[in-house]
Assembly symmetry: C2
């Protein structure tokens, strides 16, 4: 049995990854920042052991890794929401870059044989022109927001530890992932929650939306975390891989599919506050490098993912 250590284990992808690894028979340990109720977390996910650990505190990270003695470290902890990253640049740098340094240093000191799966982001590519889609890993990154910039720095740290300290680091660049449990800061979760609230009579029948004409590369989070676990088994240290569906979907198309799943009569209204200033019209990736390495492809249909998201919110509003 392999033993995994997941940073950011209570997060959206982190909790799905923990469940997936448990289902594969792994022992699952993790770290989560102070302020998250670990008692609650361990009750909900009875199978995991979680240490309170602020990722930017090197001594806490070192201690957690020394205790865990993991075979694989999945480093997911990060400030992830783009607008908040922009408004708190020092904090974002501290968590996303110093935090990654702590994880890599901690592995070097206490788990030098552990495979490190460093979760970066497709955002590192920045605003590529439409005709250059789908994006491949050899494109020179040009981050267009502060979150992406810190992810690029974290990648450079990972490559450095692989190159200079022979730490077996694999870097993954997931594109948009969606699924049950995601924060309503993200688009499909926001739509689904609003629909569930309208169905429950807790909201007037108006759905507030941002830019519907953006096309993005959406993958079910459960396919994404399956990719993370396969990366640990099959990918080459020092390499960087896109993880995505390889196909763009218009946000409008996802909204229409969600609306098809409800019988409520709903008016859609655009809210200027929901428009992100740096949107590009089309953004999707090429995952053939990862497919060849890990024999992975996304399996879940987008409609069933959207239904799961809606059902998740129906159970919560």
């Amino acid at each position: 049995m392999e033993r995994a250590f997941i940073t950011g284990i209570a997060g959206f992808a982190g909790s799905h990854l923990a469940e997936h690894l448990r289902d594969k028979g792994w022992e699952v340990l993790g770290a989560e920042k102070s302020g998250v109720s670990l008692a609650h977390l361990e009750k909900v996910m009875g199978f995991i052991r979680v240490e309170e650990c602020d990722i930017h505190r090197s001594e806490q990270v070192a201690a957690a890794l020394a205790n865990a003695k993991p075979d694989v470290v999945f480093h997911l902890a990060a400030v992830t929401f783009v607008p908040s990253a922009e408004n708190a640049s020092q904090k974002t740098l501290e968590v996303n870059v110093s935090g990654t340094l702590n994880v890599l240093e901690g592995c070097r000191g206490h788990a030098p044989a552990a495979q490190v799966i460093l979760i970066s982001s497709s955002e590192v590519y920045g605003k590529a022109p439409q005709e250059e889609m789908p994006l491949r890993e050899d494109r020179v990154p040009a981050p267009a927001n502060f979150y992406a910039l810190t992810k690029l720095c974290a990648e450079e740290l990972g490559r450095f530890y692989q190159r200079s300290h022979s730490l077996p680091v694999v870097i993954l660049r997931p594109f948009n992932h969606i699924g049950p449990g995601q924060s309503p800061n993200f688009v499909t979760s926001s739509f689904a929650r609003q629909i569930a609230e309208i169905e429950a009579g807790k909201r007037e029948p108006v759905l507030s939306v941002g830019n519907l004409d953006a096309a993005r590369d959406f993958t079910d989070v459960r396919d994404i975390v399956r990719a993370y676990s396969l990366a640990a088994e099959r990918c080459r240290a020092g390499e960087t891989y896109n993880v995505c569906s390889g196909r763009p979907h218009l946000v409008k198309e996802l909204l229409d599919k969600l609306l098809d799943l409800t019988t409520a009569r709903i008016e859609v209204r655009q809210d200027p506050h929901r428009l992100r200033k740096s949107d590009v019209p089309l953004f999707y990736g090429d995952y053939s490098k990862f497919r060849h390495a890990a024999d992975w492809a996304p399996e879940r249909e987008i409609t069933s993912t959207l239904k799961d998201i809606l059902d998740y919110w129906r159970g919560r509003v």
Copy 2:
């Protein structure tokens, strides 16, 4: 008259840059970390105004820039000595990366029209194979030490602020620079100080050396700082330039030239503690991009530079 603001103004390149700009008729302001005697500094360099400012303290950097209202910001403050960077990775990250963020944020907030000259390092290239010399700017960086890694992250920050916030940032990658005033942590300064001490009878006539077979691209610091000031006038924001001599010199050759400048009889002895583990045999750059942009070429002969270094130490031991 232009007004310059130099971070790390008391450092080796910083103090030479301050003198050079003063000689060109600029007003020179600067920031230096706490612990450096600013009274002493202002006495020695009576023409400058220096604020105490720890570069990793965002509010201090912002205040210094708001007071200075510079036309050009030369950002030189950094942990620069490679071995110490390696042993204090969090501190190096804080100074070299968070510090750069503070300078860029401070400029954005308080001096958005100021030209920013970001001093990176040739070290970002890492261990390139001999047949790929001289190095050009389009080579993909692959830092081989922690100092270089933080410089690469600082570069990414600079490019990001140029791209996303239209801050006029120019990135320079100086190769080895030498001259009077450099710390004896660096090779020519170490040799010259030992020779001066031997001449003064303060040291037995044995010169302790590291690897003499490394060939590096050495430029006089006074040529280097002239390049920095020309970059502010002539280089394009968003671009990255090598600043170097374009020619490799063996460390042994420099040692021989120094020994030619003394009449003392000196035995040369290799000290294993002085060997850096990550040395590559040959490392030099191509500065044609900068030459075309700034109409710059190094002017000082290496022998006269070495004589200046030796005379500097003769005046101090």
